[in-house]
């Protein structure tokens, strides 16, 4: 199980959003850190196949990012996305399950499991327009997990969650990392510190640091700030 990012760049006229990034991601949780505008979301969108790189290639277990089989292995939670206001939470998951190619019985079973996992069973038949921000975020996490993805891309997964939920989802993501490649981006360094096996730091579109991190190395937050500020000094 390996995600290969090979010299991937994304350029918009005079601005380089992602600059020749290469990485090989295997089973485990990868925390992607970086300031606003560092290129994290752009990189994630390219990994999800919804943004074409200007150059370079992305593949997962030999499948190119443009292939349907690649998308079948993928689960994606975008940073900011909408819902269909007239759909209930259950409708939304069943609809997404159909898009992911799950059969009807499979979809029903999986939707029920995930609604329970994200504590939305009680409101499953309520329209998503009545959901709070946190409930929507939990529903978003549920849809990302629908197809039991081997490659899970989570852009700010804990944003909008209350502290208790955050801790619960951190544990869940850690668990998922045992069987899948999980790449998550966040501004909350402590989230990465708790769940990521490997840390990636991006700055001005480039990957400036990539390695395993453990508590014995000290505070990740201090190290991260040092990396971000260091090059500018």
């Amino acid at each position: 199980m390996e995600l290969i990012i090979d010299r991937v760049s994304k350029q918009y006229q005079n601005h380089i959003a992602v600059d020749r990034i290469s990485a090989k991601l295997q089973k485990g949780v990868y925390g992607l850190l970086g300031e606003n505008g560092a290129g994290k979301t752009t990189l994630m969108r390219m990994i999800c196949g919804i943004l074409t790189p200007t150059s370079g290639s992305i593949s997962f277990d030999g499948m190119d990012v443009s292939e349907e089989a690649y998308r079948a292995a993928l689960g994606y939670l975008p940073q900011d996305f909408g819902y269909y206001p007239e759909f209930t939470g259950q409708d939304f998951l069943l609809y997404m399950a159909a898009l992911k190619g799950l059969s009807k019985p499979q979809a029903k079973k999986r939707a029920a499991e995930l609604l329970q996992l994200v504590s939305l069973t009680d409101v499953a038949r309520k329209k998503t327009k009545t959901y709070s921000g946190g409930m929507k975020q939990r529903l978003g996490i549920a849809q990302a997990l629908l197809g039991q993805p081997k490659l899970l891309i989570l852009d700010e997964p804990t944003a909008g969650l209350d502290p208790k939920e955050r801790v619960r989802f951190r544990d869940l993501i850690k668990e998922l990392g045992k069987e899948s490649v999980v790449l998550l981006s966040t501004h909350i360094v402590s989230d990465v510190e708790h769940i990521a096996d490997t840390v990636l730091i991006m700055k001005h579109g480039q990957l400036i640091w990539q390695d395993r991190w453990d508590e014995s190395q000290g505070s990740l937050e201090d190290f991260y700030l040092q990396q971000i500020d260091g090059e500018e000094d």
Partner: protein
Amino acid sequence: MKHFRILYRYEWKKLLGKKIVWISFLLVFFMLALAVFSPLFGGYYIEGKYMGTTYEMDQVDKAYAQALNGREIDQTLMEETIAAYRNIPQNLDIHYMATDEFQKYARPYSEIFIFLRRMSGMTTSELMYSWEPNYDDFAAKRQTYLQSYRKEARLSAGETDFWQAREATIKTPYVYEEHGGYSHLLSYYQTFGFFVLMLTAICLSGIFTDEHTRKTDQIVLCSPLGKTALYSAKIAVGISFAALSTALYLVFLFLSTLCLYGLEGYQAPYQFLDALSSDPVSCGQALLIAYGILFIAAVVISVFVMVLSELLRSGIATLAISTGLLLLSMIFTVPKQYRVFSQIWDWLPWSFLSPLNVFGNYTVSVFGHYFTPWQAVPVIYLAVSVIIVLIGKPVYQRFQVSGR
């Protein structure tokens, strides 16, 4: 296929969850009801004198027309008609229809009189006071009138021969049949077409763009079937919506017309409704053809609107363009001397929905065989629909989520 069905169902749910769809749908219903039932309330005046409601006057004329059912419009009926009209005094200060002589003698023959006038190109006074009824002269006048019309329309020699051959297949003398219901239904055609196309543009311009404005495109396009089956499901829902709403309105229109005017006269020659047509079809056939074409026009417009919205990434811009084209077609016509442009303009779905175009004289020639507008246009529309769908697919699939 199983997934397509599920996606199709959910796309319907998304579409019907939009308030604008219901508001527009009901508004069109209201406008159509207004068009159909307004004669029940509108007054009929001659020289300022109230004669009754428009509907009551229609019923009087219908009774007179029914009395003529089955009669050939031959020498005898022509003579009767002209004799009846000659009871109306000449040099009147008022409209001839306001005279007692018209009401008493001429009105029972008004359907035949109007038919003779429209078919021959004679003026009302010429027909009323100077023409000596003669069947052969009437037939000759019709030929002259048709030739001058075809020349004005810039028809080629081949087209003229084609229409002449079709004219020759029409059974003469014409046999009169009361056909008021068909006349009313065809009179609604252009308005109805306008409403249906507007509704289609309003309701379907968001089918693709809503995914972008709601930012759901990110999760949809990275799912296995989001770039393939979903595109087909959206297109299928758009087409179904256009066809189904047209069908619902049609059921209403046909049933209400049936109740108000009846639908007798299916076999009446179409020339009773459009004298300049040389198409050997009946009123009933013409109605079915015209409304069948409306379905196909709704399909092509639905596909056009959906794909245009995906190209422009904007529902509002799509709506503005569609409405603009629709309004432009109502106020602008290409002069007949620019034959090719005139034909292209008249055959665009926005302009085509008028009986005068559906049963018009422009043709398409393929290997020497001529096709009438109602034969050629549906095939062209269906082919164009397929091309538009094929063009739209890569546009949809290559959408780039960026800059948010």
